[in-house]
């Protein structure tokens, strides 16, 4: 039988003014289960708390109800008070008779009556409370960063800098990501490679960082602090430890028809290749689709020229497991496919390129050696038209409904760079809106217009079609009320960006949620923007939403700091108010698993023993370290097997009963 003590706080005159606290305390004395009921001016004060502690000891209380301010204010205070007196902290309930009563009801009789009802409801609940223990779970002090672009690199560097080990899993043969492909960066126009490659080198040289390139995450199990991840490292057919990156193999390789991914397929590469000069790891990789030796068994030239003896045609995929305390998704983006936008002639003319292709064309290490020439005939262009919002802000179903955010700025950058290097080239930009919210962004855009004479045209292009060796760009100029038909030598499309397709699969493995555009969702859009709702999973870079480099780096650092905060703990203290499955009642139907936003529920085949029962059943298990206690599962469960500790079905119904009495 429970022995409940009720402590009614005056809160000075805050409560005692509009509520007759003595009458409340008196009324509670006749409630079954209540063995002690008293009042005090300030329950939360030192003296008030010690009165509670004394009463717990003197009356051997098993539960405490404090009638006071909102539990959001002092629930923790009184829980600690109870704990100091040797009572389980979860045997405390608060009746909110200030915010919900004394502060809103002026009539003393009304306020007093309501306070009594609220106190009775709290007693009814605490009668059914059970002592709860906050559990702990150990934290493995190692982080995994998935994706080796600038987001992943920055996150890894920051985590390593704090002294924790971190692995980067990158699916391509080198880290660097999209930023490595860029020529210059806005709004400062510093060279992308110049600022990125030192970071890549830092990451490679940092002994806390292990770069696992040409690899993919295959499976994730476990939970915050204790993930087990299966990683598949694809066969490179080159021994990473032996290869010196000298490039002799590339010179001799007879198969030269592979599309150069780094240059967006604008030129070709050999079957054995190093993606680019500053690749990290600077190790060759054989493309098995192109390699004659692997395809036909005949060739082996690279093996012969490799003085390090690094070539190994028999290499196989390597699959291994590692343990991590935290996982960061930094899977980045890609430009969308332009199949649905054929009006822009992308498939009809080589001289219609995407902005990312244009980056490569402008880049000194690119396919044209940095010379601005038309891909079709290598001629110098005189008229270039840029088209913005290609597939962005598109709700017709062909493109993406969101703004890709970076296009306005990089288009201004491209326009400016062209005009700067080739003043003879006329540059036109079709835009819907120019969006430049960012430090020095609008100044940058205005500079393109005012200083560099870029022709910004408010309107969209309806179609682009080749005519002779020119491209006709037909679009509207809304400001001048004209339909234009420009003759252009090149057209550059600011294609929308979308999350990398690998993210969807990863989200499933991580039980991390995604929005309808396949961007990872945050735990809270404002307050927890770098955490996924799944505990222990963090978000870095464009995988969470479109952003530019400074934003990405900032978010990468923020994600790192969240990871560091997690790894700094030896144990995680878990909230004991979590869901619990009664295995005797569980049907194993998986409905609860489907609504759990945290992936806290898993299923096991288990021998169930109960009165008259002994059989193997599929039953739900809640991982208390992962569950956040929302209770979505409890309502989904028709048999009532799933219940929430601290807010159990019976507790809530007891409150309902007490209130409605």
């Amino acid at each position: 039988m429970q022995r409940i003590g009720v402590f009614v706080c005056w809160c000075g005159s805050n409560i005692a003014g509009p509520v007759d606290v003595e009458r409340v305390a008196e009324a509670m004395k006749s409630v079954p289960g209540v063995v002690h009921s008293t009042t005090y001016q300030y329950m939360c004060s030192e003296v008030g708390q010690s009165r509670i502690m004394e009463a717990i000891k003197e009356h051997q209380l098993t539960g405490v109800v404090v009638c006071s301010c909102s539990p959001r204010m002092h629930e923790n205070t009184f829980r600690k008070t109870a704990q100091r007196a040797g009572l389980n902290p979860y045997m405390v309930e608060i009746a909110n008779i200030r915010e919900q009563c004394s502060w809103i009801h002026k009539d003393k009789e009304v306020g007093t009556q309501k306070a009594i009802v609220l106190a009775k409801a709290a007693v009814a609940k605490v009668m059914l409370n059970t002592p709860l223990q906050a559990g702990t779970s150990p934290v493995i002090k190692r982080a995994l960063v998935i994706g080796g672009g600038i987001a992943g690199i920055q996150t890894a560097l920051d985590i390593a800098d704090a002294g924790y080990e971190v692995d980067i899993v990158e699916k391509s043969p080198t880290i660097g990501g999209r930023m490595a492909q860029l020529d210059k960066t806005f709004p400062t126009l510093d060279c992308s490679a110049c600022i990125l490659t030192p970071k890549m080198v830092d990451a490679a040289q940092n002994e806390k960082i292990d770069i696992i390139s040409y690899a993919q995450v295959e499976k994730v199990s476990g939970f915050v602090g204790n993930f087990t991840v299966t990683i598949r490292k694809k066969a490179r057919f080159v021994d990473e430890l032996k290869c010196t990156g000298c490039g002799a193999c590339m010179e001799k390789c007879p198969s030269k028809k592979g599309k150069n991914e780094f240059n967006m397929g604008l030129n070709n590469r050999t079957a054995i290749y190093i993606p680019f000069a500053q690749a990290i790891p600077n190790v060759a990789v054989i493309d098995p689709e192109q390699c004659l030796k692997l395809k036909t068994g005949k060739c082996g030239l690279c093996e012969r020229v490799c003085s390090a003896g690094a070539i190994n045609y028999k290499q196989e995929d390597e699959v291994f497991e590692r343990q991590y305390g935290a996982i960061v998704a930094a899977t980045g983006f890609k430009p969308i496919d332009l199949d649905a936008f054929d009006e822009y002639g992308y498939s009809q003319s080589k001289d219609v390129v995407t902005s990312l292709e244009f980056e490569r064309i402008m880049n000194a290490a690119g396919p044209t050696g940095g010379q601005l020439v038309r891909p079709s005939d290598g001629k110098h262009p005189h008229e270039i038209v840029f088209i913005q919002c290609v597939g962005s802000r598109d709700t017709s179903g062909c493109g993406k409904p969101y703004c890709s955010k970076i296009c306005c700025m990089y288009t201004a950058k491209h326009a400016m760079l062209v005009r700067d290097k080739y003043p003879d080239v006329n540059v036109h930009v079709f835009y819907i809106d120019v969006r430049t919210p960012g430090k020095n962004f609008d100044e940058f855009y205005r500079r393109a217009v005012e200083q560099y004479g870029v022709d910004y045209i408010k309107g969209m292009v309806g179609k682009v079609f080749p005519e002779g060796d020119k491209l006709i760009v037909q679009g509207s100029d809304l400001i001048n009320g004209k339909q234009l038909a420009l003759q252009a030598d090149m057209v550059v499309l600011a294609a929308a960006i979308e999350p990398d397709p690998s993210a969807r699969k990863l989200a499933t493995m991580l039980t991390a949620s995604m929005d309808t555009n396949d961007f990872f969702t945050e735990a809270h859009p404002k307050l927890r923007p770098v955490e996924s709702p799944t505990a222990g999973v963090f978000l870095s870079g464009v995988c969470q939403g479109p952003k530019d480099i400074p934003e990405t780096v900032a978010q990468a650092g923020a994600a790192a700091s969240k990871v560091i905060g997690l790894l700094a703990k030896d144990h995680l203290v878990t909230n004991p108010c979590v869901a619990q499955s009664n295995e005797l009642l569980c049907n194993g139907c998986s409905q609860c698993e489907r609504v759990c936003p945290y992936g806290a529920i898993s299923y096991v085949e288990k021998e169930i023993r109960g009165p008259g029962v002994r059989e193997v059943r599929r039953v739900a298990q809640v991982n208390p370290a992962v569950c956040q206690g929302c209770g979505a599962c409890t309502v989904t469960c028709p048999s009532g097997a799933m219940d929430l500790q601290g807010f159990s079905n019976l507790q809530i119904m007891a409150e309902v009963d007490a209130i409605c009495k």
Binding site: L584, L585, C586, N587, G588, C589, S590, Q591, R594, V595, Y603, E615, V616, R617, R618, T636, P638, S639, G640, N649, L650, M653
Partner: protein, 304 residues
């Protein structure tokens, strides 16, 4: 029907002989034509009592929960409408697909012994004697099958299964209240609706569990009658395949399916057409959401 039964039987015998299946779940001959009983047949000898006739309306899929725990495979005779329930049970992991050999059997519409009692069936149309659930037949297609027995199917344009729901919705609140009070007050809480329901597969029902806080063995008053049926319908909402067994077995002939169909109609209207059991591994609308879902206040707008 005779022919179909023969085809089923032959196939079942073959599969049993070849050891591919351990037992057959079908219907056993009764005393009369109209009273076959669902039964497991463990041997060829037992199969002599197998029958498949016009009165095999019972949905066998729920028995597979028990059969999943037995050694070896069970061949089950599944009519088109039963196949939805089976898919749903597989989705919910209540039936182990590996343990089941689904023999899809054709259904010409099943007869209601109450309607045929004392009648000369050669008089009137077959439609007049069909089980109510067959009048809203979901079609001749099986949604799950390992093997299909061909045979005659129901040649009847199905009635609009929501017509009665709409009729009720058109009444005034007091008329609706009176209608349901009249119907539910006949409930004797025999639990036949619950126990036959393939979606009501809980190892222990909340209403049987003294620790649930809501258990009750008999409906002591109007409230408990309402409570039982509202909660039962809610618990199967999004999972109910509209197999119609609840109303078929109700000894008091309470149109319980009209509760389930209300949920189905609302789900279809608010969250998009959804047929539970259409295929395995579907996500029920109650464990799903769209950020653009209608607000309750908007969904409830309209007549008082």
């Amino acid at each position: 029907m005779q022919g179909t039964a023969q085809l089923i039987l032959e196939r079942a015998r073959e599969l049993m002989q070849s050891g591919q299946i351990q037992r057959v779940l079908g219907w056993e001959k009764g005393e009369f034509e109209h009273d076959p009983t669902p039964a497991f047949f463990e041997s060829e000898e037992e199969l002599q009592n197998f029958c498949y006739n016009d009165y095999c309306g019972a949905n066998l899929s729920k028995y597979l929960i028990a059969a999943s725990k037995l050694e070896g495979k069970t061949l089950v005779c599944i009519k088109p409408c039963d196949s939805y329930s089976l898919n749903q049970l597989i989705t919910e992991h209540r039936v182990n697909r590996e343990k089941v050999f689904v023999l899809a059997v054709p259904c010409p519409g099943m007869l209601d012994p109450v309607k045929t009692e004392g009648k000369d069936l050669s008089q009137g149309e077959r439609k007049d004697y069909l089980l109510d659930k067959c009048l809203c037949c979901k079609g001749a297609e099986h949604k799950i099958a390992d093997e299909t027995i061909e045979g005659p199917s129901l040649d009847l344009a199905p009635e609009d299964r929501f017509a009665q729901v709409r009729e009720l919705e058109a009444l005034s609140p007091q008329e609706r209240f009176d209608f349901w009070r009249g119907e539910l007050s006949r409930c004797i809480r025999c639990n036949a609706c619950r126990n036959v329901c393939p979606a009501c597969s809980c190892v222990k029902c909340v209403f049987d569990n003294p620790n649930s806080g809501v258990s009750s063995k008999a409906s002591a008053d109007d409230f408990e009658e309402n409570m039982f049926h509202i909660i039962r319908a809610f618990h199967v909402a999004g999972r109910c395949t509209d197999c119609g067994e609840c109303s078929r077995v109700c000894p008091q002939r309470i149109p319980l399916h009209l509760l389930n169909r209300k949920f189905i109609a609302d789900i279809d209207e608010l969250y998009g057409e959804y047929q539970a059991g259409e295929e395995a591994e579907q996500r029920s609308p109650l464990v799903n959401y769209q950020t653009t879902d209608k607000e309750p206040s908007d969904a409830l707008k309209g007549r008082g």
